[in-house]
């Protein structure tokens, strides 16, 4: 067993030091009737070369978006990851380290988190950002919990155009907490229908969560949303939920347009699709809500010699100190994903990230225009980023089957999540979507009637 270093000589020495004659004696505190009598029901061990081969086979039984172009987004966007990201993440000093509880030995991780917090707060238009949460969905749930702590309202309002899985996770998180979850419908532009706010109970709400862009790829107008909320102490917290963080480089950040909290998913910054995980959830907020934030925060300070250094701070919010009164139970978060993002963002820089976002917009607009030429039109009139919904003349499942024949992974059947959008089809185009694939898709969809 190559991960176990105990030689026969070591064993003899260690057993003797521990005062037992055989390893089994060390388990004497486990009552005999509770011990497992049979070996574990599991396949036998495989040597490295055989096991690698087994995973090669498993891997080849999947058709990934890297080997077959596709138009799926819906919360997981296919972006190019520059080589240095993988190389730097592979440094043992990062990935085999623990949470930076001993700051003197973890300044590398701590400084990277501080840099991440700074960049993300800027991107979100907020004062502060935490060191990560699990994913965008749980981040949205945590944002609702934050709102419920600082606001008397017992209703959590969610735009129906928010990612369906996020809405499900929010419901799971809030289920037993005496909070009522209500949904606000969308209008013909694909944006939240502000005339429905009163009917949805905005006067009793502690927060309103709105996707930016939303699940239909539509860019919401946060300033107008914000202006439509009740004023004064009844004003619920406005939460911008970002599934596609790249959009933040091009659109007005929710935090600068009235949102109190901006949370979501930043997998687009340097992480592979990975069948949906690991992800990079985050939560950013105004300074006023800093002490109610979930998850880790890193702060700047000085060491005994007066040199700048970084530490985990405001830890009294967390479970290991406040226990059942903690702002969240989160402990392990998505540290290495955070590192990927901060490396990615520093490679991109301000101009290139914006240019990349612009190219995503351009790819999507190009596809949108080509489809329109074939009579396939957007479902909604609102502006979009790199994803948009169209109405097909046939069932999306049929369209996807046809696309697969020309080795293309088609879009998402919206009717699965929105029965009222029958033949609704969600398409995403990023810098990774070849123009040639778009042309093929246009031909396939245009030929169906």
């Amino acid at each position: 067993m190559r991960y176990l270093p105990q030689s026969p000589e070591d064993l003899r020495l260690m057993l003797s030091a521990a005062g037992v004659s055989q390893v089994e004696d060390l388990f004497a505190s486990i009552p005999e009737p509770l011990r497992l009598k049979a070996p574990l029901d599991m396949p036998t061990a495989l040597p490295e070369c055989d096991l690698r081969e087994r995973f090669v086979t498993r891997s080849s039984r999947n058709h990934s978006l890297t080997c077959r172009p596709g138009f799926l987004g819906a919360g997981a966007y296919n972006h190019f990851v520059p080589s240095p990201v993988g190389h730097l993440l592979s440094r043992s000093e990062f990935y085999t380290a623990y949470t930076p509880y001993q700051p003197e030995l973890a300044q590398g991780t701590l400084q990277a988190i501080f840099e991440f917090q700074t960049m993300m707060a800027d991107l979100c238009g907020t004062d502060v950002c935490n060191a990560s949460l699990y994913d965008g969905a749980s981040a949205a749930a945590e944002a609702a919990l934050l709102a419920a702590r600082v606001h008397k309202g017992r209703k959590v309002l969610v735009a129906r155009s928010l990612h369906p899985a996020y809405r499900e996770v929010i419901r799971t998180y809030l289920k037993h907490l005496d909070l009522d979850v209500g949904e606000v419908p969308y209008g013909p532009d694909g944006r939240i229908d502000l005339s429905s706010l009163a009917g949805a109970g905005v006067e009793e709400a502690c927060c309103l969560l709105v996707g930016q862009p939303n699940f239909f790829g539509v860019v919401e107008d946060f300033e107008t949303v914000s202006a439509s909320l009740p004023a004064g102490p009844k004003r619920p917290l406005l939460v911008g939920v970002v599934c596609e963080a790249l959009a933040l480089a091009l659109i007005r950040p929710p935090g600068a347009a009235g949102a109190d909290v901006v949370c979501g998913e930043a997998r687009s910054f340097g992480l592979p699709l990975g069948y949906g995980g690991p992800n990079l959830g985050f939560l950013a907020a105004r300074k006023a809500h800093m002490r109610q934030m979930p998850g880790r925060l890193v702060g700047e300070t000085r060491d005994a010699d007066g040199r700048r250094g970084f530490v985990l701070t405001l830890t009294t919010r967390e479970q290991h100190i406040r226990r059942e009164k903690a702002t969240s139970n989160i402990c392990t978060n998505q540290g290495l994903c955070m590192l990927a993002a901060v490396i990615y963002l520093s490679l991109m820089g301000r101009r290139n990230l914006r240019e990349l976002a612009l190219r995503n917009l351009s790819k999507a607009e190009h596809l949108k225009a080509r489809l329109a030429e074939r009579g396939i039109r957007p479902l909604f009139s609102g502006p979009t980023f790199n994803e948009f919904a169209v109405g097909l003349k046939v069932a999306p499942s049929r369209a996807n089957a046809e696309a697969l024949k020309v080795h293309i992974v088609g879009g998402l059947d919206l009717s699965v999540h929105y029965p009222d959008l029958s033949n609704g089809y969600l398409l995403c185009a990023t810098e990774q979507t070849p123009k040639e694939a778009s042309e093929k898709l246009v031909d396939v969809l245009g030929g169906l009637s």
């Binding site: 105990q6 390893v23 061990a45 043992s92 749980s138 702060g299 392990t332």
Partner: protein, 487 residues
Amino acid sequence: MSRFIEEPLLFEKDRPGRLGVCLCTKEVPTADAEALLGDLLRPEPPARLPELSEVDVVRHFTRLSLMNYAVDYGLYPLGSCTMKYNPKLNEDVSRFEGLAGLHPMQDDASAQGALEILHTLERALCAVSGMDVCTLQPSAGAQGEFTGMQLIRAYHEDRGDARQVVLIPDSAHGTNPATSHMAGYRVEEIRSGPDGCVDLSSLKARMAPDVAAIMLTVPNTLGIFEKQIDEICRILHEKGGQVYVDGANLNALMGITRPGDWGADVMHINLHKTFSTPHGGGGPGAGPVACKAHLEPFLPKPVLVRAKDGFRWDWDRPKSIGKVHAFYGNFLILVRALCYIETMGGEGLKRASQMAVLNANYLRARLGEHLPLGFDGPTLHEVVFCDKGLPGGITTMDLAKRLIDYGFHPPTVYFPLIVHGALMVEPTETEPVEEMDRFVEAVKAILDEARRDAEFVKRAPHEAFRRRLDEVAAARSPVLTYRPEGG
């Protein structure tokens, strides 16, 4: 030459005009963003993203990495964290294109390899835990706890049985009470007896139909096996309660004894502890939940099923607690865990647990010559010492910080709360004996130093990248983002 180079913040290294990446070739005309987005357009590019060359970025993060301590460097004896070696094969495999490039919304037929991995991992975790079914969706231990407590809650409510209280021993991790609270339960602490185990008579006295569950870490945070665990399960079940096992310390038990066989109903498993996936400087981990068949209807959706023509996700789960993750969990972490399991096999996993316990008991014996134990009883994979009689008036923290100068990461300190000045040591099975000997010698040397010059020890570390950091100042006026000098 110093090993450490002072490395400025990225923002201080910003050189407008430098490029770290060349974007892919432009294939379509640039859209008129202003016309399309109007007022929704971001007025300025994000100012805090620096402009650096690729070399600048690589050097920056390489230099930062040198300020970290890591398992690949040496002993990382954090109790309850199971800082075992992270195998390199796992890392390679998780980067295979067919796994890393897979989109979560692809149809099941095009992801059969991934689904087979998940299914195999589910079966393996059921085998190790003695449970019937498993969900891989939770992203970490705490989310696993949350999922498990939601299962318990859904189970009770499905039977029309509203219960309000969760019992938690005073030695528990903070996540347990925090989780119970998030699941809408009231937490009651139960005290540990003098042997470090749950006091059965007080448990019996407290057990009533308002108790939904007990949350127990086995072995507990003192490294002690809860020897009457089957009796605890019986007491809970007799009055309709459920038993939740926190699997944080499963590394002591693989192939030796199984929570499912004790009578436990549900547990979570930290893949980043027991199953060797990297801690990553604070995640991502994974916290699968394994449970008995009676909780199966409530599992998060979708549930993976094996049909004649292959694997598929079953979304039609009317009693499900819902979802805890946007997709299926931290998939690429799950891949690593299966790779570890298949490297070890059943026998290998058992051997790992045996060696973890042997290593811990070796350290216990050798360190025990210099430090007093927190509790006397036999311990498994970790051991807790207390600060009684530390020489020269040094504290647990001083000892921990001085260990840094000797090239070690300190053990977990001041936890569990029920041991005064606790020093909690867990070497794991992957430590060679000479590394542990080096650690013992370091502790011994520090205690000698404290007898001679306690003040010197109290000012440690002296040789790390930073001396002790002012956490009070950091918390009094928090600076959480970069502010330019004078800005």
